[in-house]
Symmetry: C2
Subunit: 340 residues, 2 copies
């Protein structure tokens, strides 16, 4: 089947670009120096490709992601880089650990430490605030939390901190300085906590981390127009193929809209040559076509602005052997880690 023959709207991975993205990252951060974040793609089939390149440790954002990775045989070393308080989900994670997976959960408070211990989990990582106002304990509280965890019988593997506020700093020198300062905070907390792991970073800062043990990047594998602004050595490997369903003299409409694309970073972009997007509705994008006339039934390609919430709407990723509508579809990867 060609990309142009897929039922639409559909997510399409340019397999060659995807392979290059994975190879570029594996060269920069080989093996356990990268802990790929599965939240970006929510697909165990895609994660298996990352594992085949030597990354056998993974980052998850939800219990369901971790349980799905473990069930898929990818549970050698999973980090739930998020605070979980649901006793049932923590118990499910502990069950997966007893069944042979290694699952470490992040903690940033007495409550999260106590919940992990109560559920029978065995390993935690102290999540430290290094500047993004989100999860993570105050840096000065990290050592105390580690002590509490150890007293509760938990093994403390180290620290993590996510400098999400620095991903999109466009001035590279400024970004480098600010990441270094954030890592200083993390390392100071690590001195109080101990353990082997210092985990940080993301796609926007993957090459600025010579002092941590691992980076949690996820978007690098498929990319989006938002990260595309940074000039990173990763290619736009993800597109949505859509069908033109209506054509008027001054606009055309395709069948991909607000339930196809995560919209927090704004509209998707029409791929080169297909025109200029005007607005999205629930099941449509209205666009001004490019130089080539379009007819109903023609296909167009679009690039998502934000990969993570885009993929979360879809049941599968189709993999093609090239970037165009004429490329051959060679594989389907279920998006099997959706939900919580």
């Amino acid at each position: 089947m060609r990309v142009a023959e897929l039922p639409t709207p559909a997510l399409v991975v340019n397999g060659a670009a995807f392979d290059r993205n994975l190879a570029t990252m594996a060269a920069a951060r080989p093996g356990a120096a990268l802990r790929p974040h599965v939240k970006a793609h929510k697909s165990t089939a895609l994660a298996a490709r990352q594992a085949a390149l030597g990354h056998r440790t993974f980052t998850c954002a939800t219990p369901r992601e971790a349980l799905g990775m473990a069930a898929a045989g990818l549970g050698e070393d999973l980090l739930v880089a998020n605070e979980v308080l649901d006793p049932a989900r923590l118990a499910a994670l502990a069950g997966a650990v007893r069944a042979g997976a290694r699952i470490t959960v992040a903690v940033d408070s007495d409550a999260t430490v106590d919940a992990a211990a109560a559920a029978g989990l065995v390993e935690v990582l102290v999540d430290v605030d290094i500047g993004l106002p989100r999860c993570g304990c105050a840096p000065g509280d990290a050592g105390r939390l580690a002590d509490r965890a150890r007293r509760a019988g938990l093994s403390v593997r180290g620290v993590m901190g996510y400098e999400g506020h620095l991903m999109m700093v466009l001035d590279r020198a400024e970004q480098r300085d600010r990441v270094a300062a954030a890592v200083e905070v993390l390392l100071a907390a690590h001195a109080d906590v101990g353990g082997d792991v210092v985990s940080s970073g993301g796609t926007g800062t993957y090459d600025l981390h010579d002092r941590v043990t691992e980076v949690q990047a996820g978007s690098y594998a498929l990319m989006d127009t938002h990260y595309g602004q940074l000039g990173l050595p990763f290619e736009a490997a993800l597109r949505v193929v859509a069908t033109v369903v209506s054509v008027r003299p001054r606009w055309a409409v395709c069948d991909a809209g607000l339930k196809t694309f995560g919209m927090d970073h704004g509209n998707p972009a029409m791929d080169d040559g297909f025109g200029s997007l005007r607005f999205c509705s629930d099941e449509h994008a209205t666009f001004v076509p490019g130089p080539h006339p379009l007819r109903p039934g023609d296909r167009v390609l679009l690039r998502p602005a934000h990969v993570d919430p885009t993929i979360a709407y879809h049941e599968r990723l189709w993999v093609a052997d090239g970037p165009d509508l004429d490329a051959t579809v060679v594989e389907a990867w279920p998006v099997d880690l959706r939900g919580w």
Copy 2:
């Protein structure tokens, strides 16, 4: 189970407010004067409640919605108010018609007429552009398309047009005038097309349509903060319950983010008393808590900005007997019409 005991993030319907919304609409537009749009909720269980109040005709945006409605026994009169060109999906719709459902599809071009006929469908409606730059033929082309459809053996039930650009006109007198002008365009096309159906409208204009035979509103059942600006007699009946996973002196974080909420209309709102939302990440919302101190594990409620793409992320709607965290969960409605 109480709302506060649900696994989070979760969609919660205030059943009493939902019932009032349905009763208000059923009084204003009884029976077939309303063709409820299922794209807003994608749930056959919710649609069954609308049917129980007398609305037995439904609007769908995708083939999967129509097929799911037919399979659920709600296929008495389904309109796919969208242009479909996929032969396989059109054939599936035709199969459902042969199995006893009544399914009418919108057409706005030679290609959509021909595709419907080729697939073995029997009934179409001519979709007319009445001012929103999206689907719909030029008004002057409607009669010709109807003729083409009839020559192809299709029964033409009438016309539809969606004045989506007028939903959020806040000045009611201006909105009334502009809707009337749009309906004039639709009625002129109807004079050329014939048939019994003149279908238009949405939640924002449901009470401005005395000249059409039916209105396609969907959001009225659950509402969102966007439609909430209009002062309509429908209540915010949909909330997301989330768990507080991290608390710092100046902010707190709950476990509902960009994969929980459709973001095209902006951030969700913290429900009354829970504080003020700052920003969403993939799986988190960072907010400034209200007057009551929060601890990890506490629950908060949020109101989505846009109901349709929010529900499309979720597997089910939980129904509660009140608006608060203490309300009892009385039912679960699968979101069984997702995808295409």
